[in-house]
């Protein structure tokens, strides 16, 4: 659905990007200065690449060899900019409908639906100058959605917001990613957002795309530590909520036969959820321990151990068909005689699981044949 293979140069940055993804949410992940905005501007048509091609849903937007270079207007890409870029002299309602009255794109999407999806009902008469940062971004997303786009680009929509505002807007993004019905390219340097929202992950590092693929696979790769950020290394577990226990404030999540207990999330039994478990929050035991306060302990098999020169080792374990990542010291690996294929018990502290991490599982969106794990 999204096919990009381009070379370009802007200022000091040499960009050479190549990735393909099938629908759903594709995250473009990389540190500041990696070239994320440059790459999205090339896809949007704001910067011309030197060579290569860009296609969305089979429509070629740019092809250097064939001499195709559609204008920004003709590309029909909804672009949500980092700085929202709402038109300050127009009301929220006029901003939302701008593509219809100024862009001559009648659009098929129901305005009331978008207003409802993003919670904009109370804002319609207001001017952008009176909105909070989070509200501005929601309006910008709605405006882009209503422009009848074939692709929605969101360039770090949360980057300029504080954590509280981010938490306000993330639930809207959760719904959007499932209900938008169009491919989304989500740009971020936050592994938390990427893990929560995306189906496909494209890693961008120094203007290059060293790897791309289903998000769970990518997070499980230990060779991408530099790009994904060592401290935030994590894995995704997907499951279904089976029980919410209001007395203890715990939610049970079935991850394929085993029950993971986490502090209560805003979820109902039956909801599909995705949990991001940080590698540093996972411990291993060679014998099932007793008398622990840690509530989550599962049998697992070690798939790989990668240790480097530092004090740490990264261990990938299979748990009920899913991959969990653990970071322990190299000394522990030696002491416990850990090796590939060994059966161990993984221990996850319930409180370490971020309870705000409610997100639709991969199966909810059309992943275009990509499956996790």
């Amino acid at each position: 659905m999204l096919d990009v293979d381009i070379k370009g140069r802007v200022g000091q940055l040499d960009l050479e990007a190549r990735f393909a993804s099938g629908g759903g949410v594709t995250s473009l992940f990389g540190q500041s200065g990696a070239g994320k905005t440059t790459l999205t501007n090339m896809i949007a048509g704001l910067i011309k690449p030197i060579s290569g091609h860009i296609a969305v849903n089979g429509t070629t937007l740019f092809d250097a060899q064939k001499g195709i270079n559609l204008s920004v207007q003709a590309r029909r890409i909804g672009h949500v900019f980092q700085d929202a870029r709402l038109f300050p002299h127009l009301s929220v309602a006029s901003n939302l409908t701008y593509a219809r009255w100024a862009g001559r794109r009648p659009g098929t999407r129901d305005m009331a639906e978008v207003v409802d999806l993003l919670g904009l009902g109370n804002l319609l008469e207001r001017k952008p100058g009176t909105l909070s940062g989070g509200e501005k971004q929601r309006v910008a997303i709605g405006r882009a959605l209503l422009s009848d786009p074939r692709l929605l680009i969101m360039d770090e929509p949360l980057a300029n917001l504080d954590q509280a505002r981010r938490n306000d807007i993330l639930p809207y993004l959760d719904r959007l990613c499932v209900e938008a019905g169009i491919p989304i390219l989500y740009v971020s340097h936050s592994i938390e957002e990427v893990a929560r929202l995306s189906n496909t992950l494209v890693i961008l590092s120094d203007g290059r795309t060293p790897a791309f693929g289903p998000v769970a696979d990518m997070l499980a790769r230990t060779d991408l530590g530099r790009a994904t950020g060592r401290h935030e290394a994590s894995a995704l577990l997907e499951g279904t909520v089976t029980r919410c226990d209001p007395d203890w404030g715990l939610t049970d999540v079935d991850i394929g036969g085993a029950i993971l207990q986490i502090p209560d999330m805003a979820a109902e039994p039956g909801d599909a959820v995705r949990l991001r478990i940080r590698a540093r929050d996972v411990a291993l035991a060679v014998v099932p321990p007793e008398g622990l306060s840690i509530r989550n302990a599962f049998g697992a098999t070690i798939r790989s151990i990668s240790s480097e020169n530092g004090p740490y080792a990264e261990i990938l374990c299979s748990v009920r068909g899913q991959v969990l990542r653990a970071r322990i010291t190299r000394a522990s690996v030696a002491d416990l005689d850990l090796h590939t294929g060994k059966d161990v018990t993984v221990l996850i502290k319930s409180v370490a699981i971020d309870r705000r991490q409610r997100a639709p599982a991969l199966a909810d969106a059309d992943t275009g044949g990509n499956s996790a794990g």
Partner: protein, 235 residues
């Protein structure tokens, strides 16, 4: 005769002044907006030269500007004779010439604030408009122009005031003909040159002051309404 009733000659001068200034504004303002946008948004070879040329009437003695106009737009001037023979339009010694002189003199005063207001509009907003399907002209008309409107209004007021008060270039180019080119300023000058014309000069001064005052009040009210429409928050 009542002091507050205008004499026919005064009416004539006042109406002529308004006609000349309005015509000058109507033609020069769109050109000033275009020129200001080009100077604000595009960098090209000769940018500095164009900018200097636009500002030339501001620094040249008005008499020089008037004389240059006379040389080019007079009946024997290259542009003047061409316009006369092809379109039958003449500028020499009639009110359209006065309007031309006023417009040329007001032009730099209009370009300056308008250019500043265009420069204050984030070009990224136009990118956003294009990403929503708007073509370049539509993006300009729906986003950039409305956002620059306060500056355009400021430029228009400055230009109108300059056009109303223009003297040197006008008298040099189209002379001082009652009913044709004798605007308030020229009438006032004529009165001061006439023995016993003090009262007439004083009355003309009052008329000029009244018109200027009314224009300022009106523009201030307009500016306030514009700000209210733009700002939202601080309205």
């Amino acid at each position: 005769m009542d002091f507050f009733n205008l004499e026919p000659a005064e009416w004539q001068a006042l109406l002529l002044t308004l006609k000349v200034a309005s015509a000058a504004l109507a033609v020069a303002l769109p050109l000033a907006v275009l020129m200001a946008f080009v100077l604000a948004r595009y960098r090209f070879t000769g940018h500095g030269a164009v900018n200097a040329l636009v500002h030339l009437p501001l620094v040249l003695p008005p008499v020089v500007t008037g004389y240059v106009l006379l040389l080019t737009f007079g009946r024997k001037g290259p542009v003047g004779s061409f316009l006369d023979s092809v379109f039958g339009v003449t500028f020499a010694f009639n009110w359209t010439g006065a309007a031309l002189a006023a417009g040329v003199m007001a032009f730099p005063l209009m370009v300056r604030p308008i250019r500043l207001s265009f420069e204050a509009v984030d070009p990224k907003l136009e990118e956003a408009a294009k990403s929503l399907g708007a073509h370049r002209l539509t993006a300009f008309l729906t986003v950039t122009l409305p956002l620059a409107l306060p500056g355009i209004l400021g430029g228009a007021i400055l230009g109108f005031a300059k056009a109303m008060g223009e003297f040197g270039a006008t008298i040099t180019f189209v002379s001082n003909i009652p009913g044709e080119t004798r605007t308030l300023s020229l009438a006032l000058y004529t009165a001061t040159q006439t023995p016993g014309g003090d009262l007439a000069a004083f009355r003309l001064t009052l008329i000029a002051a009244f018109v200027a005052f009314a224009a300022l009040i009106a523009s201030e009210a307009l500016a306030r309404r514009l700000r209210a429409r733009m700002g939202g928050g601080h309205a």
